[in-house]
Symmetry: C5
Subunit: 153 residues, 5 copies
């Protein structure tokens, strides 16, 4: 199995390194890393990893800024990432941490690390353990934050 | 006939289970279930079910959160789901229940269940009884809520 | 010639019936009707009519609700309808009547009927009489309302 | 060379006629005209001209109204026009004049005529004189209004 | 190697010239320049450079205005640029400088020049030195402005 890891020079945390560290704890898939300037370069970079580097799945890692233009870029990048998946029939797990999700830089770093690691496990499960995800269906998972859990009735 | 059921670990209700329960009451189609982390993973998952698992139709089940970013993700997911249908010439019935449609969690659960079951019947009708839908044309159907009915003149 | 008519069970007026009635007054094209649950199911339904049922043109008929989510769904459906046309090189005439275009239900019904009938004639003209549309170029046509006419200079 | 001219019956000015008049002053390309009901019908009409009528370039001419729904339709049409270009590898020059760009109808007419004529020249340059456009790079061209010119440093 | 440079006559700075000047300092790739009227003409122009002129990468250079319609056009152009990349599996580095990023025209010129030059180096690195980008991953690069650097923990 081959996993593509795409991240950006724009981000303020080395997200690719964290993702690779976590994935290696859980499987022995070959990892191909690809760093691009910004968020909007991620869709084609992921598609190149999935099609030309034969990756079975990819991660798209980024930290959108807090200005309206950053939100718009994140939206455009997300649409591109969805389209790249549809054109390849392979998953790209998007891990975007918005700069304004935390007020404090250290909290932001922790959030980036936690969300990246938790989504790295999702990547491993999508590749090797799809049944684990079915068991988690409807359980209110929240990557980076505490899970909210299922509604109790 | 084969029906694909896609849901998420993000949702707070096991929507896939409800959909499967309802579909089994109405037909004997083979059901393939696929659970992904979040809404934006649904388009490619549905396309994989339609193309690689030979499903004739799919359901995309999710519970978007109440923050603006959740609304944007739902919009992106919806566009991806429409595109997945256009690339496969097969229907994907989207069942999204927004967390802010109800104030109370138990009401929310009931809405999720009712909308999911009613759309599961739409799926069965699209597969087996298209004429039933023509009879309902213009009758103000509202899945999850009371139907508003046709305008009387 | 074959004309596809797509409408929804969500609408509060039987738009498909009105469209078919009008088209039959003007030509003898074979009409294939397809009713789906909601607006967002229209793009693929139209594409199926154009590709699998060999229709030469289609109509996509719907009545978006008045909530913001309804506006967003209409936007998503419209993008899908444009894409379906680009993938088939055939026209799909979209007839959307928003619930908040009129305050009164009976006025709304009249608007739905008038807009549907006027666009049905556009469909016939696109199929049989393209020169009629060229004659109307720049004349401020408004389906459902009074035409505004050309700017007089 | 063949040039496709697409306009609408919704517009209040015969934009196609103006475009054709201007193009004929500058070249002897064959011109194929196609009038559709509204803006959202332009993308596929242009694509049909580019693919089925073998046009080398097309113009998409429209006058979006002043209501929010008109702005959204213009946005959807623009996305479709961009996509039509990407699927054909040919240019479609979009000439949209928004009804609220001028307060007075006669001013609006003048703006429509000026912008249409100036873009018609862009079409001719893209077909026959690409080097002229390179010479204008970064010179602040504004079709329909006075050019703002380059920033002087 | 071949690099495509796309810019506009709408911009108030000759961005193509700046990009070419910078690229030539760093490599001997053949450069093909293509100037179009406006932002929304960039996606297909880049795709033509990548597919018909065999460019390995392209730059899309523009200066969106400050009105809401300009923001929307920039959004539409960006989506088209992302799609052009996905359809070619090649990068297009987008360099958009919004007119309202600076209050003063001379500051704006400096920003345009700095961002264009810094992104030109990204283009060279994507073509020849991908490992340099991996070294910059997560270092908070900001083209045109001072880099914000990585979060220190």
């Amino acid at each position: 199995m081959r996993i593509g890891i795409c991240d950006t020079t724009f981000a303020m945390v080395d997200m690719g390194k964290i993702a690779i560290d976590e994935i290696k704890k859980h499987c022995s898939a070959k990892i191909i890393r690809y760093t691009v300037p910004g968020m909007k370069d991620l869709p084609v970079a992921c598609k190149i990893l999935l099609e030309k580097e034969d990756c079975d799945i990819a991660m798209a890692l980024a930290m959108p800024g807090k200005m309206p233009i950053d939100k718009q870029c994140a939206h455009e990048a997300s649409l591109g990432i969805i389209l790249a998946q549809l054109l390849t029939n392979k998953h790209i797990i998007e891990v975007f941490v918005h700069e304004d999700e935390c007020e404090d830089k250290k909290e932001l770093y922790k959030l980036v690390e936690k969300r990246t690691r938790e989504h790295a496990i999702n990547v491993v499960n999508l590749l090797y353990h799809k049944e684990k995800l079915i068991k988690q269906a409807g359980t209110g998972q929240r990557q980076g934050f505490e899970d909210v859990g299922p509604i109790k009735i």
